[in-house]
Subunit: 340 residues, 2 copies
DNA sequence: TTGTAGGCGTTATCAG
DNA sequence: CTGATAACGCCTACAA
């Protein structure tokens, strides 16, 4: 069934020359006579010769593969980051191996180990919820100790020294909260996740800071911290019912969208009675009714940057690491869920 | 910088035994004495020996990698298929290399060639818009001619003989249209894409069939066929304004969501004045206001099935191909954008 | 201008 | 029980 791909050896035998002659001829080396080169190249094209990547990888100790491990691929943000990585990497001749940790520590570890045995030249990843919760980064350390380049994005940790790309989450939340405050909102609810998520921690901080800058103090009763990014319908709706906010900031796309619908069902008009802003400028925000003002995280750019940083590491064997953390600026995209 | 991973050779030298002894010892071969095995295994663990996958791939002519080429990763459906593939493949010890064709014929070809040189054991893919439009499948044929297993899903073609997984798009559209008709809707608009998309062709067919079964005939004025899956705000809104439908069927998630908002802005109430049903039971449909009744395509299952079929081919070298086309049943998920 | 030989890391066969 | 050898497909320094 599997018609074996033709190899240098096959060509050599067929044309009655040596393997190295064939190899050189195909590379247009000028060690080889025009005659021989033409003969070999013609034959190779005729039989559709393609060098075997695996053999080349073994020889070069370079696979031209990048391993990407992300918590999931359903949420818009990760999706766009993956797209950014893909774009840049393909441009540079790299393939992208995508693995989903599914927010699970165990699966993240398994995936890393699966890829760390020579399958890839480097990793780009965002920590799973499980990993952030466990606060266990040994699998990352093993990888970096082996000298495999690693770039963390979005959900990062100080425990590991490596290149990183994040957005300024604190600033993003600050800008959003400020916007609500400037609209005159007094009771701003925060829908977020627990502080063990590095991004949530920072977003929660930005929220607090903005309140303080406007002479208000954070009321814990106005904050709902859920353990995961999944919607807990019960808790979100009872929270909003209780708080009855005139402004909502959501630390992710999905809580905000869901929260807005809950409020609408309770009779609130958006943005007349309550303004809503959410993190992630995704399809949900864009197509909600009304469209939701959002903090754009520039995922695609983030992915490109991460890929760029990684490939740079892979291709240049610096002996002084000099790790960088790039911080992108979030942008507030104003839509109809807030006043303007 | 890059601390070379330890190899069999290193262990052999260090322990003063032969490479093959080490290899066997690590495999717990009973050709080797208990003593030697223990010594070798201890040493290997201590120095964190991991067999080099690339070398193994070269030897076995099996990479344990699956190449997945999809048009994009932003739309919910493809996202879920990729997740299904990932799940099943990882379970079986395979990595998934994801490439995005970005709906472009050229990029699809480039990606295939990139992977077809030994990097993967088989392909799972869904045709790009460009490919369906060009009607050019030579890159697929080259791959299958080489004996590389290929599974097509969703956007497939009869031109290529290989395993396929699809849903019954005609039935899906039929069920949706029937639902609208049974509600008493008389003027059902169809938002769809051009017929060169295999899926659209079938969905358009199902729409027509349902109308006919209810004694109505298709009115071309009630159908808007756009060239791509991107929202053309201008055309969609002027179309809906003109038609002023009491029912809308959308052949994808995004047109339906957008169309519903257009109608709402025009003063239509959903579902009082107009019912809306869209293909793809995704986040947009689920979180729209009101939530949209949708044709579920069971992407995750589709992905798992595709992966299963592919891995079966990869691992068993059938000499009679006996290609299969699996057809999944779509499900109508009823929500508040239709009456019940 | 062409060919030989060795190596990338692993495994399998066969000899000792 | 252990080891030498060849092979997977390619590349390259060196020899002829």
């Amino acid at each position: 069934m599997l018609k074996r791909q033709i190899t240098l050896k096959d060509i050599a035998k067929e044309l009655d020359v040596s393997i190295s002659t064939v190899s050189k001829a195909l590379k247009n080396s000028d060690e080889i006579s025009r005659d021989t080169k033409e003969k070999v190249q013609a034959f190779a094209k005729l039989y559709n010769y393609k060098p075997n990547n695996i053999a080349i990888s073994l020889k070069n100790k370079r696979t031209k593969n990048i391993g990407v491990i992300v918590p999931d691929i359903v949420h818009y943000f990760f999706t766009t980051v993956v797209r950014g990585i893909e774009n840049f990497a393909n441009e540079k001749g790299y393939n992208v191996i995508v693995c989903l940790s599914n927010e699970s520590f165990d699966k993240e570890v398994i995936n890393m180990e699966m890829l760390a045995n020579g399958s890839i030249d480097g990793f780009i990843m965002s920590l799973s919820a499980g990993t952030e919760k466990n606060n266990d980064f040994n699998h990352l350390r093993e990888v970096t100790d082996q000298g495999i380049p690693l770039v963390l994005f979005d959900r990062v940790t100080n425990e590991i020294e490596c290149d990183k790309v994040v957005i300024d989450d604190t600033l993003g939340a600050y800008l959003a909260t400020k916007k609500l405050l400037e609209e005159g909102r007094k009771k701003i609810a925060l829908l977020t996740t627990e502080d063990f998520f590095s991004v949530s921690r920072n977003r929660n901080l930005g929220y607090k800071k903005a309140l303080e800058d406007f002479g208000m103090e954070l009321n814990p009763d106005h904050v709902l911290k859920l353990p995961y990014m999944d919607i807990d319908e019960e808790r979100i709706s009872s929270f909003l019912k209780r708080v009855s906010p005139d402004g909502v900031l959501s630390a992710n796309e999905i809580f905000g969208i869901y929260g807005m619908r809950v409020l609408q069902k309770l009779g609130f008009e958006v943005p007349k009675d309550v303004s809503v802003i959410g993190f992630t400028d995704g399809l949900l925000a864009k197509h909600a009714n009304p469209p939701v003002t959002a903090v754009a995280q520039h995922g695609e750019k983030m992915g490109e940057l991460a890929a760029k940083m990684l490939i740079e590491r892979v291709e240049n064997d610096y002996d002084v690491p000099n790790y960088q953390t790039k911080i992108l600026e979030p942008t507030l995209i104003e839509r109809d869920s807030t006043n303007n």
